[in-house]
């Protein structure tokens, strides 16, 4: 009798297991349908089909994938693990990078420091002040938050780098001892499950940078850094950060999403050329991306991007009513997303370049064209590994004895709505490879339609490809200095490339129903 009971125990558990396998198989059957169909039609070889099947079952399309990620995290946490899948659990319960990222051989930072020194000197020769801002890593300066046996070498590398800058008299603002001296500060200023700082941390950095600039007499107005002038919003259990997505919600919990909006009146625009987007209106309309506030999706959304929406090659913030009539350029990584939004309330123009994605020109060329009033590099210790932050291209800026030569002057453009989404006009000049050009205009009048922007595109009619694209805010003509676009032409690859400037009466792809007049277009060549 006892033997029979024992047998039923095996049978029951076996069939529960079988039911589980069958259930998951049926739910994921659709993953195999497409690869098999293609194989049967002869569109794929057997090996290609196998590869595709393996990829499908490893992909995010696997049903219940995130439930398994959560369960895995719980299981490993209960078994005492603290480091798993490129995430490490700190002593304060927060998640940071895997050891492979923060525990690496310390690399000599002299070359990087020399590059920044060279860039800083070049800017000084062009009367542009510069500061390197070292952001805090998600680690206290003494590394006490790490599990026993692990060591953070990123801060040591950063110390070495910063010391080199100080030796060379490069302006450097090190936020680490201010913001992460103690473990308590780390808990305060960083997300629990993401490697980034939280909005409170970003706002703290905003305050520090503004005070720094005021002390240097660069700016006068620091009104907006008063936190009482801002509304603080919060949604609990809303955000699973970059590390949390790797280990699930049951390994270290979730984060709340916090965001700040100003109580004071704002009217600004945020232009993202490569996305063909212009966000215009108050601070929230311009800088905050609603979907991260209204939609909770722990595994596929990244609410850290609640400000600006993500990392783009170039973002331009324009705020005509800002207290400081200055133009600043920030060379940044993803940490800066909320920071740039805060800075946009204090400066007339904030240009933000992400060197990891920007390729339209060298950074030095950009500075030569737009002549910002201040340039920052704002990155964190892990970015010391990234060569793009230390390659500014000063040598690419030609020694210009020649000034700009006008090749098109006082050209007026009237574009009537032709009910097409890609309605453009061709500017009647041919551009040559390897040269520099400036496109500018006096004013834009919106005659019809709702579009806030105007696209100007460098197009190659030979290869039929868009090379570069710029967006202008229709209303930004209040300050003609903003109505310029500098173009560094690609080098000549073949004879016969036909480069033209095209103007779209609205945002490219959305020109239907709009009409504009553009006055006094000028094209200059150098």
């Amino acid at each position: 009798m006892d033997q029979k009971k024992r047998d039923y125990g095996v049978i029951i558990i076996a069939f529960i297991s079988l039911a589980l396998i069958v259930f998951l198989s049926i739910n994921n059957f659709s993953l195999s349908k497409d690869p098999i169909d293609k194989f049967l039609k002869g569109e794929r070889t057997f090996s290609e089909t196998v590869e595709e099947l393996v990829n499908k079952y490893s992909s995010d399309k696997l049903k219940y994938k995130y439930d398994f990620v959560n369960y895995c995290g719980l299981f490993l946490r209960l078994s005492g693990r603290r480091a798993f899948n490129e995430a490490t659990l700190l002593n304060n319960g927060m998640l940071t990078w895997g050891a492979g990222t923060f525990q690496r051989d310390i690399r000599n930072q002299k070359r990087n420091a020399d590059a920044i020194f060279s860039f800083s000197n070049w800017l000084r020769e062009h009367d542009i002040p510069y500061t390197f801002v070292m952001l805090p890593d998600k680690m206290d300066m003494n590394g006490t938050l790490l599990p026993v046996g692990l060591k953070n070498t990123l801060n040591e590398e950063a110390n070495q780098f910063v010391n080199y800058l100080y030796e060379k008299d490069v302006q450097c603002l090190d936020l680490r001892p201010i913001m992460t001296e103690t473990a308590a500060q780390v808990s305060d200023y960083f997300y629990r499950t993401d490697h980034h700082w939280n909005i409170k941390g970003a706002f703290k950095a905003y305050q520090i940078i503004m005070r720094y600039l005021k002390e240097k007499d660069i700016i006068t107005d620091t009104t907006n850094i008063d936190e009482s002038l801002w509304d603080i919003h919060e949604k609990e259990d809303w955000f699973l950060g970059s590390r949390g997505k790797r280990v699930g919600t049951l390994f270290a919990g979730t984060d709340s999403l916090m965001w700040y909006t100003p109580k004071f009146t704002t009217n600004q625009s945020c232009i993202i050329p490569n996305k063909r987007q212009i966000f215009k209106g108050d601070f929230a309309t311009s800088n905050i991306r609603e979907k991260y506030i209204t939609t909770r999706d722990l595994f596929t959304l990244n609410p850290f991007c609640v400000y600006i929406g993500g990392d783009y090659p170039l973002v331009r913030h324009i705020n005509p009513s800002a207290g400081n009539k200055k133009r600043i350029l920030i060379l940044k990584n993803s940490y800066v997303l909320p920071l740039q939004a805060f800075l946009s309330t204090s400066f007339e123009v904030v240009d933000v370049i992400d060197p990891r994605h920007y390729s339209s020109s060298s950074i030095a060329e950009y500075c030569d064209w737009y002549k910002p009033d201040y340039v920052f590099t704002i990155i964190y210790p892990n970015s010391l590994d990234d060569k793009c932050y230390f390659s500014m291209g000063e040598n690419k800026v030609a020694d210009h004895n020649n000034e700009w030569e006008i090749i098109l002057d006082a050209y007026d453009l009237k574009m009537k709505d032709n009910q097409k989404d890609y309605h453009y006009a061709k500017i009647p000049v041919k551009l040559e490879a390897g040269n520099e050009y400036m496109f500018s205009f006096a004013s834009i009048d919106r005659i019809k339609g709702e579009s806030d922007g105007v696209s100007v595109v460098l197009y190659n009619f030979t290869t039929k490809k868009v090379i570069f694209e710029n967006l202008f805010d229709v209303d930004c003509s209040e300050n003609p200095e903003n109505n310029k676009w500098f173009i560094k032409m690609p080098e000549k690859i073949s004879n016969g490339d036909d480069y033209r400037l095209l103007v779209y009466d609205g945002i490219r792809g959305k020109t239907k129903g709009t009409s504009i007049n553009i006055e006094d277009i000028q094209v200059l060549q150098r």
């Binding site: 049978i11 297991s17 046996g149 060591k151």
Partner: protein, 470 residues
Amino acid sequence: MVFSSLEFLFFFFPIVFGINYLLPIKLRNYWILLASLFFYAWGEPSFVILMMVSVFSNYALALRLDELEGWGRKIIFIFDLLINIGLLFIFKYMNFLTSIVHNAFPEGAIRETSIVLPIGISFFTFQALSYVIDVYKKKVPAQKSIANLGLYISLFPQLIAGPIVRYSSVIDQISDRKITLQGFSEGLMRFIVGFNKKVLLANILAEVADKAFLSKNLSASFAWLGALCYSLQILFDFSGYSDMAIGLGRMLGFTFLENFNYPYISKTVTEFWRRWHISLGSWFRDYVYFPLGGSKVKKGRMVVNLLIVWLLTGIWHGANWTFIVWGVLYGLVIIAEKLTGIPKKIDKWHISLRMVYRLFTLLLIMFGWVLFRSESLNQAIIYILSMFGLSNNTFIDDMFVFYSREYIVFIICGTICATPLFIWLKNIYNGRRFIKIISNIGYVLNLVFFLASISLLVVRSHNPFIYFNF
């Protein structure tokens, strides 16, 4: 394809087994054969041709063997042996041999080859050899159905990593086998146990072992930790795969012999090889050692026989000097034990002496695994020297501190699971109610761990089997 993968679990397994149970019994062998060839083709389609060459040649030549007597029979037998061993030699050992010759005579005409190793070739070749040898010795008649022989050689549960199934042990099951509810359930549970061993123990302990073996500055303590973790990793990797193979076979109605029997509780090295990879040890014993005379010869000849067997065992494991040295070293230890009679005498020793020798056995096994894991003899020597602090290394470092704390639960669980603790307890308290309760809890825990294993696979995508290179 590996058993512990999502595509096997959610794609191959339900389709193959589902259709198998729906088909009439006389069609099932064809279906499983087709599925086995598909399983093998998953890794590399072109190697299915090699498999089929093996099946066809052994089928045809074995049938011929059955018809012949005398010298003709011997010639066909040798020819068949040469084909099987030849295929194994070309695909597995040619690169090694040409590399040795090329390095010795760089200006010579011999160039290094780079022939791709077909997965599982050592396993299915040895199965084919066991079939041919048994037919030659008239232990079994030649198989008349090529499909059935193909099924035996290519059967997917044990195709690429064993156990090495003797034809004589499954000949009846090929043509007549029953799948019972009990058998199916036990087979599935066995599969799950193996699955859990592989994913939750072997794969996780591999992280420590890999870190240690790839480390440039290895402290003595971390070297020991790495060796311990690798010893556990290889046990659970291989025995886990065998469990899955045996379980899947049972679900298809086949009963395969056990391949592992808690090898780390062995009292002697001789006993270890009766508990570790049993199918391989018994294969060499029956097809090499006994035909050479075994131990029923003079001592000198017995020593030679054992050296041959262990040299071949080392070579079987891989085309590298590390495997050859590993095999020969085991041979020397086993010879020493045989000559001194330790395996027979040890039970009469004082308990303290028995424990010392048991510890000595375990250490030898562990050092053997260091050799086995190393890329070269040089690396193995450096690693072993590091274990004793003899390579200018520290005794303890941060890596040891971190990894020992991080993986302590898995190391302890692995150590416990390497022993038949639960079986001992069951035997001691047999019939007591709480044993039954614990057994049932164990089944439920298996399911919980199964979910955890699937979860780990979902989070990761890479879990190679060690014995796939054989």
